[in-house]
């Protein structure tokens, strides 16, 4: 094994250059103000103070978390049955269903989100159809509804595939054992299938929540310029306002929030596993 260890060095250099160094730069930016020389660098919490002392930014943060949580919950509710159906489908049908979930992800997200603009627009496809049967128009574009639809649509494949994987890995004989012991289908699902698929749900939640909480182009396109989420504030600081220090500070705040939420989900995951173990 020893000779293989040297082969890891390029990889370590790679990690340092592409992951550790940028993170350190964000850290330095976050704790300094613009116009600092390397020689006279001065650390301060000013950027963080600016964020937490402003009700507007805190409100944006709250809104972003709410939208991301709503997206995640909808993805679980829609994704679980879908994954369950796929996992229990046979042969050809199963392959087709998996393809239907993954094919859209081969096309660029931005293009697919533009398509949703066309669908939800005031003179878009839905409202045109509603108009033909004498209904509507309904205001959809530039609302929270449109943003959540866009996020669920873009991120739900991650949820479905994670749950699907954990369902297929499950040992089918456990279900047979359950029915031998007198459990009906519902009981078998609740006592056996559901607990065993929780790890898939948890990793699905992580994969959906992370991009949902920091997405900036979905709210921008489907919510309009006035629909500001935390990702838009960060984008604005870097691209328009040119205040990289404040932008880095907000990014860091988000990173901490995400780390905490991942820690909590891990804890829940472990708790579930322990519980399942006890019952056996």
């Amino acid at each position: 094994m020893k000779q293989f260890r040297t082969m890891a060095y390029p990889y370590i250099v790679w990690i340092c250059l592409l992951i550790v160094l940028p993170m350190l730069l964000i850290l330095v930016y976050a704790f300094t103000k613009a116009g600092n020389d390397v020689a006279t660098i001065k650390f301060s919490f000013e950027n963080f103070g600016k964020f937490f002392s402003d009700a507007i930014f805190l409100d944006v943060l709250r809104r972003s978390l709410l939208i991301a949580i709503a997206t995640t919950i909808i993805c679980v509710l829609l994704g679980y049955p879908a994954a369950y159906i796929i996992a229990n489908a046979e042969g050809r049908k199963k392959v087709m269903l998996i393809l239907l979930v993954t094919i859209p992800t081969w096309i660029n997200m931005l293009v697919r989100t533009y398509a949703w603009m066309g669908i939800l627009q005031d003179d878009g496809i839905i409202n045109t159809v509603l108009g033909l049967i004498g209904l509507g128009p309904i205001k959809m574009i530039h609302t929270s509804f449109a943003v959540i639809v866009g996020m669920v649509y873009n991120f739900i494949p991650f949820m479905i595939l994670q749950i699907y994987t954990s369902l297929t890995k499950m040992d089918k004989s456990l279900l047979e054992a359950a029915s031998d012991l007198g459990a009906n289908k519902v009981q078998a699902f609740l006592r056996v299938t559901l607990p065993l698929s929780i790890p898939g749900v948890i990793s699905g939640i992580t994969l959906v929540f992370l991009p949902a909480v920091s997405s900036f182009f979905i709210p921008k396109l489907l919510g309009g310029g006035q629909y500001v989420l935390i990702g838009n504030v960060i984008e604005n600081q870097f691209l328009t306002a040119g205040d990289w220090n404040f932008g880095s500070a907000i990014s860091l705040i988000m990173a901490v929030i995400i780390m905490i939420s991942m820690y909590i989900t891990k804890k829940i995951d472990k708790g579930e596993a322990m519980e399942g173990g006890d019952k056996k």
């Binding site: 402003d54 507007i56 930014f57 409100d59 944006v60 293009v111 533009y114 066309g118 627009q121 005031d122 003179d123 530039h142 309009g224 310029g225 006035q226 500001v228 838009n232 504030v233 604005n236 600081q237 870097f238 691209l239 328009t240 306002a241 040119g242 205040d243």
Partner: protein, 360 residues
């Protein structure tokens, strides 16, 4: 939707052009200019249909176009070290780029078409001798409104304050640009849009927050063009050239430059210091000023041409924009201003704009 089709056709056109011209002419271009590739950084939907393709064919070169939504975004990319050969920033940003020594002085002997420039766009305050910049388009900012739903007299009487009339709640587009939105607020309050008085800027901020919270405006950039042409909203703050296009597409729309004054602007071509191909860049600038390219540009996009012949023809009798009140910028009105670069205003605006939009 139009944008996707446009993008797709641009890619197709670029692919075709690439196949067609890659034979002998390319090596000629390399010999003459030192390279056969030009990097052009421009506003979205801001160039004539065949302008780029014709240039590529005529000179045997390849043009790589990139697009920006705002001067500030362009500046950030430039500062991050991205190299472009020709960029089309606005007046105040050119002033800043000159101040920060980021532009090359032009070799005017390579741009003989400078003589074609209209009088109104020459030697303006941001570059008094046109040493660094060559005007591309010019125009103003105003309100496009649907005259069936919003009476003309009301718009002309109220000016910008009609944007805060709750009768039209949920029916307006604002332009998602800090400069233009603060211009509207500052002019409506009777201040100069070049103010560096923090109290006046804060007053304008409150004006915009109030508008944001009472009117449910939608902040858009280029989408405003198609959406107003389709009549989706009653009022929108737009650039004159986009307005000219909207008016020519939808006869229910009218354009008004409020009497409180507006922003007169000029977008000009410049060559940054780090351009990799300045020779070809000069050739490109000269080509854009030519009659054919100017005509195609102005006819497709709707902005006022900087070529005097094209400008006269378009707005004159039988011209494409005859009687279109948005095409010709208003000249010589004392309350109209050109943006200057001033640091206080710049910093305050970039800090406050995201807060205006997020204030609800």
């Amino acid at each position: 939707m139009k944008k996707i089709i446009l993008a797709a056709s641009l890619i197709a056109a670029a692919a075709l052009a690439g196949c067609g011209s890659s034979s002998s002419s390319t090596s000629d271009a390399v010999e003459k200019y030192g390279s056969d590739t030009l990097k052009f950084y421009n506003w979205g939907e801001y160039v004539g249909e065949d302008v780029i393709a014709n240039f590529e064919e005529e000179y045997g070169v390849k043009v790589i176009s990139e697009y920006f939504d705002s001067n500030e975004m362009m500046y950030t990319k430039l500062q991050a070290g991205d190299a472009y050969d020709v960029i089309v920033p606005s007046d105040y940003m050119i002033e800043r780029l000159i101040k920060e020594d980021m532009l090359q002085e032009l070799d005017l002997s390579l741009i003989p078409n400078m003589s074609e420039l209209a009088d109104g766009v020459k030697n303006l305050s941001f570059d008094p001798e046109n040493k660094y910049s060559v005007p591309y388009f010019w125009g103003s900012v105003g309100i496009v409104y649907n005259h069936n739903n919003v009476p003309q007299e009301e718009v002309e009487e109220k000016g910008y304050s009609i944007l805060k009339d709750t009768k039209y709640k949920g029916r307006i587009y604002m332009y998602d640009s800090e400069r233009d939105s603060f211009m509207v607020a500052l002019k409506s309050l009777g201040y100069s849009m070049n103010t560096d008085n923090e109290e006046e800027i804060n007053e304008a901020y409150n004006w915009l927050v109030e508008l944001n919270n009472t009117m449910e405006p939608v902040y858009v950039t280029d989408e405003v063009i198609d959406n107003m042409a389709n009549g989706l909203m009653d009022m929108a703050v737009v650039y004159s050239g986009d307005a000219a296009y909207i008016l020519s597409e939808n006869e229910d729309m009218s354009y008004w430059m409020p009497t409180e004054g507006t922003n007169l602007w000029v977008d000009s071509m410049v060559i940054p210091k780090n351009a990799e191909n300045p020779k070809l860049a000069h050739e490109f600038i000269n080509y854009i000023l030519s009659y054919d390219a100017s005509y195609d540009n102005s006819s497709t996009v709707g902005y006022a041409s900087t070529n005097k012949e094209v400008l006269a023809e378009m707005s004159g009798e039988g011209g494409e924009y005859e009687g279109n009140e948005a095409y010709l910028p208003r000249e010589g009105y004392e309350k109209d201003e050109v943006f200057n670069d001033n640091e206080v205003l710049r910093q305050k605006l970039s800090e406050l704009w995201i807060k205006v939009k997020a204030s609800k």
